[in-house]
Each structure stands twice: as C-alpha cells, then as structure tokens.
C-alpha cells in the first residue's frame, strides 16, 4: 500500500485557470459567478520602478506600491480544488503574469466588443507562451451583438482557438466557459502526444 500512498500524495490537489482581459471586461464578475467563496484578493508589492515583485531588500528606500489580484475557489472533488485567478489588467503589471500562469491548465481571455483592442495584448501573451486559451465575448446589456466568427476574424484568432459568447454574471454560462477551456487544454495535450508518437 506504500505505493498507493505515494501516488495519492503526488497527484495534484489543486490547479488553476487564469481569467484575462482588459480593465472592466468582467473578469471579477465571472469569477464571482462560479466561485464557492466570495472572491478574495491577494496583493503583491511592487517597487515603483517595476523592477520586479517583492525585490525590496536591495532598494530599501524606494516607495512600494501594490498590485492586487482577485481569485475564486471551486472544490471539484474531495481531493481536488480549482482556483480561478483574474490577471491584473494594466500593462505595467505584466511581470506578474508569469507567476500567475505557471502550471495553469489554461486561460480564458475575456473580450468586450466595444474595446476589442484591449484583448490583443493578452492574446499575444498566451500565444507566445504556448498556454492553451479560449476567447469569451462578454455580452454586456445594450451593446450590439456580432457573430463570434466576425469577432474571431477581427481578433485574427488562429482557427483552432475556441470562441464563445457569454453573460459573465450567469453561473451556468461561466461554468460552461471553464468546461470549454479544460476540454480544449485536454485536446491540445492529447494532440501533442499523437505528434510525438509519430
């Protein structure tokens, strides 16, 4: 039984999905819609020169500021918890993204059709890092709707990247987006196995 114990301890007990997108696009709304706890906030210290997080020992006289990240929690099984981390939107906090995205299953890039350009940078980030991502168009009340294929074209999305539209306030739709990114990450991983086997 020693083997079983070891295997159980090695199996991941928690994992995460990253929720990215521009300021006010609905990241925190989506997290709040599915989280089993009221979303929590953690902060990292940043020097105002943005030379790195928490690297204050060498520069004790610098003023520090904080960057905040909201996150939620979903207990999926007795032995598995999923965390959802919203990325800090502003570009100057991008150095935090590597820390947030390390080990993530994948990312949901949220898009507001009125401000499409704000999603270009997050899309570039996940593409360049090879992190699986999907696009979720948040349908705000009173904003014109466009077919998702038109939006995909406007974003110059690679054809394999799934794109969905949702109301981030709706628990089932938010959950649907999480299922979608997880399915896509699984498909990508299986494809990479097939490629390696050939």
């Amino acid at each position: 039984m020693d083997f079983e114990t070891t295997k159980a301890q090695r199996a991941a007990a928690s994992t995460k999905i990253v929720i990215a997108g521009g300021f006010g696009v609905g990241k925190s709304t989506l997290v709040g819609a599915v989280s089993e706890i009221d979303p929590l906030r953690t902060e990292a210290l940043v020097t105002n020169e943005s030379e790195g997080v928490d690297d204050l020992a060498a520069v004790p006289t610098k003023h520090t500021t904080t960057v905040a990240m909201d996150f939620g929690r979903l207990t999926l099984a007795e032995d598995l918890v999923l965390y959802l981390f919203g990325t800090p939107g502003q570009r100057r906090f991008w150095f935090m993204w590597d820390d947030l995205c390390r080990g993530a299953i994948g990312a949901i890039v949220m898009v507001d059709v009125a401000r499409l350009d704000e999603s270009f940078s997050p899309l570039d980030y996940f593409e360049s890092k090879g992190i699986p991502f999907i696009v979720a168009v948040n349908e705000f009340d009173g904003v014109p709707r466009y077919p998702v294929d038109e939006i995909a074209a406007a974003l110059a999305l690679p054809p394999e990247v799934p794109i969905i539209s949702l109301d981030a306030r709706d628990r089932e739709q938010a959950k649907g987006a999480l299922v979608k990114i997880t399915e896509y990450a699984l498909m990508r991983l299986r494809e990479s196995l097939t490629v390696n086997a050939n």
Binding site: A11, S14, S28, T42, T65, T66, L82, R190
Partner: protein
C-alpha cells in the same frame, strides 16, 4: 454575491508599513510555492513557542488552503506569505500538496485535466 471592484481601482496605493520587516528582510522562500498550491497541517506537529505572531497567524489559517488564500486571509502580501509558509514547511509544521510544475509528467497532467473536467461537469 456582489462582484468585487476591479483590482485596478486600488493599484498604486502607497503602503505605510514596510512589510518585509516581519520576515527579517528576506524576500524569497526556499520552497517553490505556486499561488494555487495548498497546505496541510502535519499531524501531531505542535507550534513551537518561538513562532512570531505573523507566522502563528499563517499557521492558523493555512490548513487545506492555498498560498493565495493564506495571503488574502492574513492580509499579508503574497511574497511575505511565501517566506513565512516556506519557513513553516522547513520546520515540519505543514506540508505542501502537489500542483502542476515543470516536473509534472504528461500522464499526470492528463490525469489532472481529466479529473478537473469531470469535476467541472458535475459542479
């Protein structure tokens, strides 16, 4: 549930306390601690009397919670939380549960994503 305000609202708020005084100036943990990594109290381990109040606070909230949750609940920045948790792990008071890392095998990764998918569909 009220959605929280966007994090950006409070960005660049100056801090009045030099947080790293509570870690004696150390800014890096000796243990690699992912934001989502969860902690468990070690059975039978007793908190030594020399623990600082901050370390004690971390110890009290960390069981079955993630690094990010401990940071949020203790209102300590993530870097400070990591240093204190790293100390507690080294002292054998708590242990770190597994997450996906660079060392995770493809089979383990597949297994985890499949478990996550099953869990989400039933959530």
């Amino acid at each position: 549930m009220t959605p929280p305000v966007e994090p950006e609202d409070e960005a660049y708020r100056p801090r009045l306390i030099r947080s790293y005084t509570i870690t004696a100036g150390r800014t890096a943990s000796k243990v690699d601690l992912a934001m989502e990594a969860t902690l468990r109290l070690q059975a039978g381990a007793e908190a030594p009397a020399y623990l600082t109040p901050s370390a004690m606070q971390v110890l009290e909230v960390c069981d079955r919670r993630s690094v990010a949750e401990v940071s949020a609940l203790t209102k300590m920045p993530i870097g400070v939380t990591r240093v204190l948790l790293g100390d507690l792990i080294e002292q054998g008071l708590i242990r770190l549960q597994a997450t996906i890392t660079e060392k995770t095998s493809t089979d383990e990764r597949l297994e985890l994503i499949e478990r996550t998918l099953r869990g989400l569909r039933n959530y």
